[in-house]
Amino acid sequence: MRIYIDGEYKCHVLSSEGLREFDVPFFNGKCDEFIEGYRYVPFGEFWEREDGVVFWGEMVSPWKNYDRLYRAQAEYEHQLLLEYESALTEIEIALGVTSE
């Protein structure tokens, strides 16, 4: 998944001036809200938290409350499932197939 990080290693889903692009498989299948609640530190780089603790990459960690991101991703996947089921139903109707 292509993501973009800013000067604080926070992730963005859209490119913008000053952002760096990375391909991070960890975010495959994740919704935008989930991705943008994370921080990605590439290998060989480090991020220093405001309390002085240093984190070397490669690291992915949430900077927004993870419960919130977890719920956003679950809702996203639920909506996808509904869309797939709806599309499947339409196909079945078109084919004259009845689900038992």
């Binding site: 960890f26 495959n28 603790v53 990459g57 993870y66 719920r71």
Partner: protein, 314 residues
Amino acid sequence: MIINAISGGGSGAFLEVTSENSGVVTVYNNAVGKTYTKTVQAGTPVIFKGLSTGIWTVEISNNGQTAAKTVEINDDYEITMAFFAAYLNVTYPANSNCTITNADGVVVATDNNSTASTKTFVATVGAEGVYTVTASAIDGSKDKEVNVSIDADGQTKNVTLSYAMYLFKSGEGAKIDFLTYNDKDGTATITVGTDEITLYAQSSVTGFRTALRSKNTIDFAQYTALKMKCTPTAVYTNIYSSDWENSVGVTATAFTSSESTISWAARSKITASSTETTIVVDISAVGTSSTTTSSYYFGLQLGGRMTITEIWLE
């Protein structure tokens, strides 16, 4: 505070000081050995007379707030000053004392907590700089300190201190219950001993991997970092799945084998090193003291060879 230098008649100059806040004003010139002090009320100027030309320092203080300026007295001039105040929101452990010192080691705030719960208090600091916030257990058994930098008036910084929680410590062994997962073909094994945890893959053939997980969920809410002291002498490349990434961190689900696709909440990759290293994972946004929708476990997955001497949370 506004400072106006007024050229007066006779010997010396007049210095008029006006402050937006009440306080005590001290004017001194160490070169001539003179110091003058006056109490100032908000909006009411005070005048210092007979000041010789030269460099003078003007200080004002009130309830822990301070401000200082160096001025050159010769003719009329103006200087505007303001009190500096920034705030530290400090949360520290139960049954502990908390002390805040500035870069010179001067204590600027203290607080005490004799309860069985964490406590939060707000400390006001009167200058830019680096402050050390220290929590010490009342029984003297442990302490924790962090540094926080203040660089602007009105700034607020949140500081959370917690004592380390060991999951594994060399010489003491596992401090929690772990579940270990060897490779299904037995070509990679993991052993939890008293002095170290050993992960060993027979060869670099991909697919030989091991995994380690806390048996029970862990309350990560009071901790901000997961640390693991280890020597990963060999780390093999995964070609099967992006979720097997030779990593350590916090998982949102209880995986059940070395081949599980792990749902990481936060993780750092393990890379080969011939010397001991400490891997640090930011978990400051993982876990909550309120109702959670997911459970959290310590997790590790590796295709390679590594010894671990310590795993702990701070």
